[in-house]
Amino acid sequence: MADNVLSITKQNTRGYRVILVFAFLVPLFFLLDLLVGSYYIPISEILKAIFRSDSANHQVVLIINQFRIPKAVTAILSGAALSVAGLQMQTVFRNPLAGPYILGVSSGASLGVALLVLGTGGLLGGSLISVAGSWGIVAAAWLGSGLILLLIVIISARIKDIMTILILGLLISSAISSVVNILQYFSNESMLKSFVVWTMGSLGSVTNVQLAVLFPSVLTGILMAFLSSKFLDAFLLGENYARSMGMNIVFARMVVFLSTAILAGSITAFCGPIGFIGIAVPHIARMTLRTAKHSLLVPGTILIGALMMLVSDILSQLPGSEATLPVNSVTALLGIPIVIWIIIRNKNTARL
């Protein structure tokens, strides 16, 4: 029996090794992300600004502390959050193309923002946005996704079949999107632009103060994901098996949905909807860790998600130019080839 225990440990060492590699890569790319920006700062200055700020150039300290660090931290948080949320949805719905927004969380957020930017903006004039500031948008987005979450929780407590919930989620998102479309149609050009800019996603607009709210929210969601890793393992075999193993389906679903909504909702509120990371990263995690156990997949997905988002942020910073690409486009251009590769490699999309 001792032999068995030994060989089982052996099986999982690959997973742990891969996690270790990513745990090393994330801080490395975090530093790299601090390096790039519209203003060139040598790495020695950056390190000095972080560790001995009193002796460093005041302006450099300001740029690092107020802009680059919050942006890089936001990249880590959003990558981790969206990827874990995507993993949870793919497992619960047993669908390889599910993602963090499948329950309609992002469309709820966009309705909130659209109502604020396009709706009240039209009535009160554009000044409102600058007055309310980004907090207004965050609050609106959070309210919108919270409302959707409430709806999903009510639905999932009443409806047994998981596929019905998936379809209802899709229908609700479509319905909300059309409301947003109507709002867009009736709004003026400058309103429209500020809304469209929000939908493109941005990591740079999150301030240190906002991070103090975003950070604990993401941490809560991630903690819940860790706590639900046993549920997620059981969901792999489908709900009948899960129930026959003594799992309380409604409770487990609720924990997972709540975690997903907190993660995807908070990130969407602060950064706008960011696509494809949440779909692609769980697949990369499964492939590199070669396991289906969520006690390994959850930490693996967090690290790979953080890394992917840091890479996206670095790529969005066009070298030698002040301009930055919308992060949403970068994640899509990075994520879509990965998803295509997964589909072709598996030759069978109907499995995780």
Binding site: Q11, L237, G238, M245
Partner: protein, 338 residues
């Protein structure tokens, strides 16, 4: 001798299965089901497609509520169990083929320990031991670290059975465990179930369409007929004629001697056959397929066939023709009809 009442691990009395509707508008699929299973029995549920086998098993497994009557597991009504309590008494294997990539045999079987492990699913030494034991019970030692989606259908079904063994329950319910399997795998799976029932004293309930294996290996059959559900040893049900009522097709009849259903042929002609041994038996089968009934030599016949293995002589009217295979003989007989 212990009384049956105590040993009834699964006990249905006057039960109805179906779907609950609003108020009293239930959709009842089958009612007045009174059957039971004793400890250590392998029970096969048999019946036509759509007669409610799956619904019955799903109701017993607690996936859907019973409509009327008593469904008892170990003496207690199913509806009074909590999910976790039921999971310690009964495990389930569905007909669905699980396709999860990167899931090893060990990890899948270890999910059977779900009701016993802590919040994070940590496996203790005892869990490791039971998982290994379950894997060897289905004959998959050495497969622990193979990925489930690289296995054949038969192997995968064995893994699912191992998972239910790891759950260490008194009852195992399997919904058509042999549906997608080839003949040898069908026999193997049902034989494994038989061994588990007799050696580990488990009560195993499975639905199947494969009568031959069910008759050969099960201790008890639940026969779901149009108007009733009958139970008994397979042989009892054959002798008392209940088997004849399984299928409502005039093209099928139950051969009580062979223990299997056969397709009814309209016999148009009669033949005399001379010969002996196994070659004679198979010649009669070949004749039956082509519409010839073999009659006693005292009765009149259209045709006479003399079997002398590797040579068949047909005497028809005044002609006498020799054939060296049944295939060419059958082709000749068919040509006669036209």
């Amino acid at each position: 001798m212990k009384s049956d009442q105590q040993d009834k691990i699964i006990d249905l009395s006057n039960a109805s299965i179906g779907y609950l509707g609003k108020s009293k508008a239930h959709k009842i699929i089958k009612s007045a089901i009174s059957v039971y299973a004793l400890k250590g029995e392998l029970v096969a549920v048999i019946g036509e497609n759509g007669i409610g086998k799956s619904t019955l098993l799903r109701t017993i497994a607690g996936f859907q509520p019973s409509v009327e009557g008593d469904f008892r597991i170990c003496g207690k009504l199913i509806s009074t169990y909590r999910e976790k309590e039921l999971a310690l008494l009964m495990s389930f294997v569905s007909t669905e083929i699980i396709k999860v990539s990167n899931l090893s045999v060990f990890d899948l079987v270890s999910l059977g320990r779900y009701p016993y492990t802590n919040w994070f699913g940590k496996l203790l030494d005892e869990d490791h031991y039971l998982i290994e034991e379950a894997i060897s019970a289905v004959g998959l030692q050495g497969y622990e670290y193979r990925m489930v989606n690289h296995l054949s259908d038969g192997e995968r079904q064995k893994v699912m059975i191992a998972r239910s063994l790891a759950q260490n329950t008194e009852i195992i319910v399997l919904d058509e465990p042999t549906a997608f399997l080839d003949l040898s795998n069908k026999y193997e799976i049902v034989h494994i179930l038989h061994q588990l029932a007799s050696e580990k004293e488990k009560t195993i309930l499975f639905s199947t369409h494969d009568l031959t294996t069910a008759i050969a290996e099960s201790d008890r059959l639940w026969l779901m007929l149009e108007d009733s559900v009958e139970q008994g040893a397979p042989e009892d049900l054959i002798l008392n004629g209940n088997f004849d009522a399984i299928f409502h097709s005039k093209h099928l009849y139950f051969d009580r001697e062979k223990g299997d259903f056969r397709i009814r042929k309209l016999t148009k002609k009669v033949a005399h056959v001379h010969g002996e041994g196994i070659a004679m038996d198979w010649t009669i089968k070949a004749l039956a397929r082509n519409g010839f009934e073999v009659v006693n030599l005292t009765d009149p016949a259209d045709i006479t066939i003399i079997v002398n293995y590797q040579e068949w002589t047909v005497i028809h009217l005044t002609k006498q023709i020799k054939f060296n295979s049944l295939l060419s003989l059958c082709r000749y007989l068919n040509s006669l009809e036209r």
